[in-house]
Symmetry: C2
Subunit: 313 residues, 2 copies
Amino acid sequence: MKISAKEAAMLLCAHDRILILSHKNPDGDTLGSAYGLLRALRSLGKTVRTQCTDRLPQMFSYLADGVQQEDFTPEFVVAVDVASVSLLGDAVTEAYPNVDLCIDHHHTNELYAQKTYLYDGASACEAVYEVICEMGVSITPDLADCLYTGMATDTGCFRFSNTTPKTMRLAADLMEQGARYAELNRLLFETKSKERIAVERMVLDTISYAADGKIALICISQEMVKESGADESELGGISGIPRTIEGVEIGITMREKEAGGYKISVRTAAYADASKLCAAFGGGGHIRAAGCVINAPYEQAKTMLLEEAARFL
Amino acid sequence: MKISAKEAAMLLCAHDRILILSHKNPDGDTLGSAYGLLRALRSLGKTVRTQCTDRLPQMFSYLADGVQQEDFTPEFVVAVDVASVSLLGDAVTEAYPNVDLCIDHHHTNELYAQKTYLYDGASACEAVYEVICEMGVSITPDLADCLYTGMATDTGCFRFSNTTPKTMRLAADLMEQGARYAELNRLLFETKSKERIAVERMVLDTISYAADGKIALICISQEMVKESGADESELGGISGIPRTIEGVEIGITMREKEAGGYKISVRTAAYADASKLCAAFGGGGHIRAAGCVINAPYEQAKTMLLEEAARFL
Ligand SMILES: [Mn+2]
Ligand SMILES: [Mn+2]
């Protein structure tokens, strides 16, 4: 059943011994929501803890500053930024098969909880902020930091198209309530791991241009991944690099598979249809971002890609 | 004489044949202010043109979309985002020695104009927005794009400490009035030139770490600059790279001078005093960012720097 922010606030106010769940591979939004809600509920004198099947990533450790996790049998279970029960992880689902309340912002939310406050906006932290305001909690700087984190991370620091005027205004409120936004943004958006820097260096060495610089292609080999020590999350943004180059319409990333062959990711800037390009190799996707697989040696796969891509300019 | 936004609006409304001046090496703020003000004044039926001693950079060409520059003898001269008359460039100052109105946000404004509206905030575009609102102009999407550009570029897309709650709220207003923020942000913050990518690749090859990864050092040689074809503006952000690496407290950039020797830039993350470190080599600066010059061969200069830096950890 869908409910409003006010009803979610009333439910939370009516319960104690509250467990807050985040989704696996946690991001700034699910964690900012969880620690923000924990701080708000504790300020009302409630017994609360957070749980996630994965460890709190080092870069988000500030969210938990000063928070001691308590052990207790929960009376009320809340999931934040969790669109599907499968995202909780098996161990969590087994221990807590019933979720009483879900606060989320994904259109795709499966409404698996008893009650769901489904917010239409950029981040779950905006939804949690509304619920916290309904509870009459005053926002401390630590709490403001938590909620700012989700708003900033889910919108690429207010850059992406999902940012709304409301996101901007709620973030402004949090800045007034003491969010350390400049420090947070440096930590969240300007910090790269040594492994990421290392793999980026190797990948940049592979850049090749075609069609007068309108096509750029890079390759991430198994050897680069091994040598740099980068993990999957650190490889994330790399396929975005070719399209960020001035004048490039089609950006192609070849990622060598463990068993050989290549996973191809294509991003386009303004007019070329990435999904049609990938369809030529049995893949698909969207107009600006698509993918396919090519099981061929490097030079051959590269030549096929560049020839096909040139037809889309 | 300092005046208010309302008085600036009244002055502009009382005049026609208005020339708007931007500062040299123009950025998004001075250009967004100029084209925004031009669009607002033209919507009131006035004859207006903009002028800058340097050409409109390609990345900002959208600001002038649909704008035909007219030739006329100005009756009223306005400077936007220009803190000092010297920033107009000699040719402009010679042609227009008298500036009637300055709309700016730099504390250091030299009050060279007849009247100055000095705004206390992140960008001149915020000040221009206030003046435009006082004039009762309705904001079109094109105008919103211009003003959003200055707010976003002067704050690193709302990341830096100069961002205020007011900046966020004014940007929210512009988003509602049709600013194409997602496209603009991709263009302004995610695009790198091929030359910049090339020099970055070469510079990343020079990274070395010391003191358990707490010190990172890179070098930009004359040869890299020549080979990549990167110009000064494209080299700008590079000295920021070492400090963005996770765990690095002291980031050092060695920039080879044309005549030999190195210009050193030091950035620190949390506790090390960059100005004291540079003082050891006769330089200086601030706690988090400082510089010096070392006239020694590469290996020797590097060793001296790493040894000195280690003492500040
Ligand atoms: Mn989210
Ligand atoms: Mn400015």
